[in-house]
Structure formats: C-alpha cells, structure tokens
C-alpha cells in the first residue's frame, strides 16, 4: 500500500475539530473543513449562524481535484507547489491551503469575513493541522486491525451490495 492514510480519531480528531472551530471564530467564516488529498472529508465545522452547507462530499472531491490539478500546473512551471487557492464570488468565497502531502484545509466564507483575515488565520491553522495529521498518520493495517474488519464485515457488506446492486 503506497498511499499513506490518516487515522484521525480520539484526541487528534478532537484537536483538529478545535482548530477548525477556532478558525471560524477568528475569521468569521461559515465552514471549515479538513479534507484528505483523495477528496474525503476528515473533519468539518460549521458556524452556528451559517445556513445548511452544500453537499460536503461533492465539495471535498472538487477541492481535492482542483488542488491536484493546480499542483500539476505548478510542476509544469518547475514550481514545487502553489501553496494556496482562493476563489471569490459576489457572495461567497473559498480558500484552500495545503496542510501537507496528506490533507487540505478548506475555508468557505461570505462578505462578513475579510479575505486577508481568512488567509492569515488559515495559514496559521494549516500549520497546526500539519502537526496533528502527521501524528495521526498510520501504517496501513495497524488501525484496521483494531477495528475488527474481518470476514464478518466482508460478508455483511457483501449482503448489502446484493441489496443495492442486485443479486448475481
């Protein structure tokens, strides 16, 4: 298994969630997410006043795809990376900062949050999340063994597959 995996749970998950929460308070942004490079949401926080967020799955996938494309662009130009991505619309904006090779920090904000503040605190938070995710990086298999992902899991999952995708 080549791709490293992040097992964010227990204390490290709480810690990451706290960073995301503080980030919302500091910047006045609506949503903050920690997303892995494959496009899966690892942790997320919403401001109390924010409306229901858009589909987080789609959001994370597009952000990760976009970040991968941006990185490939940077490499074409001989750069190691372009560290941040900002998209600003009339009402809302998205700020994406690289946490490290494993994860991305995503902040969604509206006009109430000045973009300078989002960037400043975003970079700071990314630094803290870097430590947390590096610590949570696991050798594949170790964490899985603790889960009891055994043949029973496979059989139950297979039965659900038949339900959803039809009997063979």
């Amino acid at each position: 298994m080549i791709e490293p995996s992040i097992a964010l749970f227990g204390e490290s998950f709480e810690e990451a969630s706290r960073v995301l929460e503080e980030l919302l308070e500091e910047t006045g942004a609506q949503y903050s997410l920690l997303v892995d490079r494959k496009g899966f949401v690892l942790a997320h926080r919403e401001a109390l006043w924010a409306p229901r967020p858009p589909a987080l799955d789609s959001l994370a996938t597009l952000v990760a795809g976009n970040a991968a494309a941006t990185k490939a662009l940077a490499e074409l130009l001989g750069e190691k990376r372009f560290s941040e991505i900002v998209h600003q619309g009339e009402q809302q904006g998205i700020y994406v900062e690289e946490v490290n090779d494993l994860a991305l920090l995503v902040i969604i904000f509206d006009q109430n949050a000045p973009v300078g503040r989002v960037k400043l605190y975003g970079k700071r938070a990314a630094g803290r999340l870097d430590h947390i995710t590096q610590r949570a990086k696991v050798e594949s298999g170790t964490a899985r063994n603790q889960l009891g992902l055994d043949t029973e899991y496979r059989e139950s999952a297979s039965a659900l597959l038949d339900d959803l995708f039809g009997e063979p």
């Binding site: 298994m1 080549i2 791709e3 995996s5 992040i6 097992a7 964010l8 749970f9 227990g10 998950f13 892995d36 490079r37 494959k38 496009g39 899966f40 949401v41 690892l42 942790a43 589909a55 799955d57 789609s58 996938t61 597009l62 795809g65 991968a68 494309a69 490939a72 050798e139 594949s140 298999g141 170790t142 964490a143 899985r144 063994n145 889960l147 009891g148 992902l149 055994d150 043949t151 029973e152 899991y153 496979r154 139950s156 999952a157 297979s158 659900l160 597959l161 038949d162 339900d163 959803l164 995708f165 039809g166 063979p168």
Partner: protein
C-alpha cells in the same frame, strides 16, 4: 487505499471507471445514479465540455449502509477517456481502490481499448501501483452494435491472460451495469479484509 474515518465511523472506497473515449464510462455512472434510491446516493458531479465529453471527472457517492457499526460508502469516478486528457486522467487514479475497465465493442475502437489499458498500467506505475494490487473488472460495452467484435477478440488485446472477471454490457440500456460494479466492490471489500489480516 480505502479511507477510514474513525471519528465519524465511515469507510470510504474509491472506484474508478477507466477506458477509451466514448466507451460509455459516464453512461454507466448515469445509469447507476438513475437506479439507486435517493437516500443512498449523493449528488452526481460531472465536469464535462459543452458536447458532453468528460473534461476532468464524473463523481457519484453511493452509500452501502452500515456494516458492523461503520458507514460504508463507495465513491464512483470516471476518468476522461480521450487520449489528450492524460494529465487529468492520472490525477483521478490517486488513491484508487478498484477499477472497472469499460471497453468499446466497435471494430474501429479495438486499438483504442488496447491503448487505454496500456495507459492505465503506465499511470498506475507512476503511483508505484500495478494491476496485481488493484482489483480490476472488465466491462465489454456496446454489445448491441450490429458489427460488435467478438468478446474474445477484445479480451485478447486488453487481457490476453484472461485474469480479470468480464461482463458484457449495453450500458445505455442498463444491461451489465450493476454486475461489474458489484464484483469490483466485492473484490475491494475482500482486499480490505485480507490486508488487515496480513499486516
């Protein structure tokens, strides 16, 4: 590799539909989307050009349900098939858990099938992966074409050793769409379990 989120108790798998341009990868996803109940699927995202050619990827999250306390979810992706888009195609393979290779039955696409399979191997190699490590299932699509090539002939160029499960399909009518998806999902689940045993 599957992503396990312990905090939210979720296991996610990434399945990628690969194959030459216009072989029907997006058609597969659209059919799956149309048949899965509302509460078991997320939004389908398509990044396509104006003439409906996939530009970057299509994406569809499917919820399998809860297994032993874990929400199990499959993320289905398609790659852009056109040779031209290899840079973005490669990006989609990152973190792939299983592949459905969609081949085209049209006689003039035989070579495109072979080239796409070679391209898949090359792109996986860049992630230091090989088809020995990633579950692969073949779908021979467009079996309804009047001049469709014999399945064996297509298999000979993409899987001469006959190593992979093969399904015939007419994806646009939904024939042979779910079978390969179920099989690759099964293989991916099996791999998760066996890798946790051996390590």
């Amino acid at each position: 590799m599957s992503t396990i989120n312990f905090a939210t108790r979720e296991i996610n798998f990434k399945i990628v539909y690969y194959g030459p341009g216009l072989s029907g990868k997006t058609t597969n996803l659209k059919y799956v989307y149309s048949k899965i109940p509302e509460d078991r699927k997320g939004e389908m995202v398509s990044l396509a050009t104006e003439d409906e050619r996939t530009l970057f990827f299509d994406f569809l999250p499917v919820d399998l349900g809860e297994v032993k306390g874990f929400k199990t979810r499959f993320h289905l992706y398609t790659v852009p098939g056109q040779v031209f888009y290899n840079a973005s195609r490669k990006l989609i393979l990152r973190g792939v858990d299983g592949i459905v290779f969609v081949a085209d039955s049209a006689p003039n696409r035989l070579r495109a099938n072979a080239e796409s399979m070679r391209n898949l191997r090359e792109n996986l190699a860049e992630y230091e992966l090989s088809l020995e490590e990633i579950p692969l299932v073949l779908q021979i699509n467009k079996r309804d074409l009047p001049n469709a090539l014999p399945t064996e002939m297509i298999r000979a160029v993409i899987d001469p050793e006959e190593k992979y499960p093969l399904y015939e399909a007419v994806a646009i009518q939904g024939v042979g769409v779910f079978e390969p998806l179920r099989e690759v999902s099964r293989l991916v689940l099996g791999r998760l379990v066996s890798s946790s045993k051996t390590s």
